[in-house]
Symmetry: C2
Subunit: 436 residues, 2 copies
């Protein structure tokens, strides 16, 4: 009988889990220093919750179920936003604003697994609720970038591609798309690069766009402008009023010092119906992978879940694509597994008798301590074992344990010295913190 | 439209999540310092995987489902052991032994929620595989206790109740229970305190135990012996050979310094069929709650999942009962939410203009930084806001930012001093580490 993990799901052996922890820990640390508070919700919710924002269409993409004899349909969470909206709606009156929350849920999608898209993945969600204006938009973008810098990624690797629903709406409207077709047009633009051109033209025709207009739409939405180039955009697109929000954002991107990471790209629309203002996606610069992150302003969403009207902006970032990008750039760190501080072994019977109590004392003092489970007393072999697990110090127990002394060996420089038993934990911690 | 979280599932708002993180982080830190490596697996597995160890009976306790158009039945993980066994079996040839793994999965049970038992909970799993003998048994128990001490729990709060399958088997066998009925007898003993006495007597009769024998069984399994009292147990029970394993364990419990936490309790059997040697449960000392943790030796389990024969010992501890115990003893810490290092606000236009870039710089330097989103420039109100979020320092930006200076105010002692912009992050970190 042989079992494997389900298709599109991952096993995290120690090596993979060490990297995953590093990623998740960095998300959390960056979130906290940017003033966000950690929240989480249930691994599954009522199926109905997921229909609120995405309609019946979402159901086929979900792992849904009903308890034997139960009456409610549930689904494993495919995203966190409905839970977030529900939690805010439930306590809208008592939560101090602005609400700055982050979460790092695992999510499941009942899709065919493919590169960058697995059936189970982890997603970093960062949201500011209760604040209008470009400052909050820029702050969530800054938070994403603050994370990238921690992984040694720079503006030479990634680009924050920014657009605005009103600007896109204005362009589409000038080409003749009526208001009722606007969401369909956003959806079409969003999937443009994922479908054949003929299909795109065909779909566009249904929205009243002939070949000439499709061509103009393509031209417009392929243009990119760096931060500070909005005047150029204004002239080339013949816009004015509709760039007011982007102009305010442009100023904030400069103020937060992230302008070099950003560009305006009117081809970015985000398919989801609920965005109301700024939208953005973060891409590897060559465009080789799926989006690393996506987000925007969604001022009407909390209402949709029964809450009051609260403006909101946020983004989601998955663990899979960012890992592919880092791997591709040789930035996937291989040195993030916890290293033992001390590796203890006995050289005599008296040492062996003292070993468990000694190990217990070190661990109790928060020293990461391992010991040899082998019966050998061969120093060479035991030191090799200590090296193999990456220990910083070896602690040798011999008959001197009776006098309260052990031999402490620094495995990086090789020196060895007798140290009082009670002093070892402090000594190791002091030296480690001196090394930084 | 109002939604709530599903029955028996929890929302973690910032306050609850801060405590939960503290618990999960402490599990992880204690695991690492005890030499365990972190692993994880998928949130759901094939339904068949869960039947291997628990039979068809488990199915009604699972949230199981099938993808639309799919062929495989899946179930949300109700426990981690089958995943662990599968992962070890898959790589048994390449994993260095002993394998010391821990995991902190969320698990789901399709049961009626009750005190101490929710539909979704987190469980700390600690396992040593590839080692026989009492040393490994004692080491996993030490690891559990090492965690309790971190939460300021002592032997006056909790008791590790230890038994051994062979000892229990010997006692039952002497009372006339035949080998074929042994597992049924273990199950019956395990649920003794959860069913009415008449039901217990009735069930016992089916196993060949008349009133007199049931009485003797009850007497025996109600006796408790502290560490070091095995001689007493040997005499009272008339045993010898069958206490050999417990005697070896007794020695190790003393060696690891955890004897004061432990007692032998032959009423502990653990219902699960797969335990082969030592079994233990950790209980709040008055017996008021469900078991805080349970585990034991399961030397045959990896084989059952298609792997080689590997001896193993481990335990599981849920997040719900330990939280109830801590709450009951007023040890549930309320001060574990991350505190901001700096709260920044502007007192002039020049300060306001410099604020986003200044906040960005501090956060980039790993200083937990918040700022006021309000437009007021009233120092009193702004300091009140800084206090309300628990910030350690206030950073005041006025026209001196042009000269590269800000006012730094220590909110615990109240002093205020001009500091060079670039020095603030270092200064705050240095003072924090001096205090911490």
């Amino acid at each position: 009988m042989k079992f494997t993990s389900p298709r599109g799901m991952r096993d995290f052996y120690p090596h993979e889990k060490a990297w995953h922890n590093h990623l998740l820990d960095t998300w959390r640390r960056v979130s906290v220093r940017n003033g966000f508070e950690h929240v989480d919700g249930p691994i599954f919710e009522s199926l109905d919750l997921y229909k609120v924002k995405s309609g019946e269409g979402i159901v086929s993409e979900l792992f849904s179920f009903r308890r034997q004899g139960g009456k409610t349909d549930y689904a494993i969470r495919p995203e966190f936003t409905p839970t977030l909206a529900r939690m805010v709606a439930q306590r809208a009156n008592s939560l101090p604003t602005p609400i700055k929350w982050f979460s790092i849920p695992n999510l499941c999608r009942a899709e065919k697994p493919q590169r960058g898209r697995l059936r189970e993945h982890w997603q970093w969600n960062v949201d500011i609720m209760g604040l209008q204006g470009a400052g909050a938009d820029a702050e969530v973008m800054f938070t994403a970038i603050d994370f990238f810098r921690e992984l040694n990624l720079g503006p030479e690797h990634l680009r924050v591609k920014i657009s605005h629903r009103q600007t896109a709406r204005h362009i589409l409207s000038r080409l003749g798309v009526v208001d009722d077709d606007m969401l369909a047009a956003f959806d079409l633009l969003d999937k443009r690069d994922k479908i054949p051109r003929e299909a795109f033209v065909q779909e566009a025709a249904k929205l009243g766009l002939d070949e000439d207009r499709v061509h103009r739409l393509e031209q417009t939405t392929r243009m990119k402008y760096r931060c500070g180039e909005l005047d150029q955009m204004r002239q080339q697109l013949g816009m004015d009023e509709d760039l007011r929000d982007l102009a305010a954002l442009d100023e904030q991107l400069h103020a937060f010092g992230i302008a070099p990471w950003c560009e305006y790209d009117l081809g970015i629309v985000r398919g989801l119906a609920y965005y109301t203002g700024t939208v953005f996606e973060i891409h590897e610069i060559s465009g080789a992978e799926r989006a690393v992150a996506g987000g925007g302003r969604y001022d009407k969403l909390i209402e949709l879940f029964g809450g009051p009207s609260i403006p909101a902006v946020g983004f989601g970032m998955g663990d899979v694509v960012i890992s592919l990008v880092l791997d591709d750039k040789n930035l996937l760190r291989d040195d993030v597994a916890p290293r033992p501080d001390a590796f203890v072994f006995a050289l005599t019977d008296a040492g062996a008798k003292a070993l468990p109590g000694y190990v217990a004392m070190l661990r109790r003092a928060d020293v990461h301590t391992r010991f040899s489970y082998r019966t050998t007393r061969n120093v060479g072999r035991l030191l090799k074992e200590a090296d193999a697990v990456g220990a910083r110090y070896a602690v040798l127990l011999d008959d001197d344990v009776a006098e309260g002394t052990v031999q402490l060996k620094d495995l990086s420089v090789g020196g060895q010295e007798p140290v009082a038993i009670k002093a070892v934990a402090d000594l190791i911690r002091k030296r480690e913190s001196a090394q930084g």
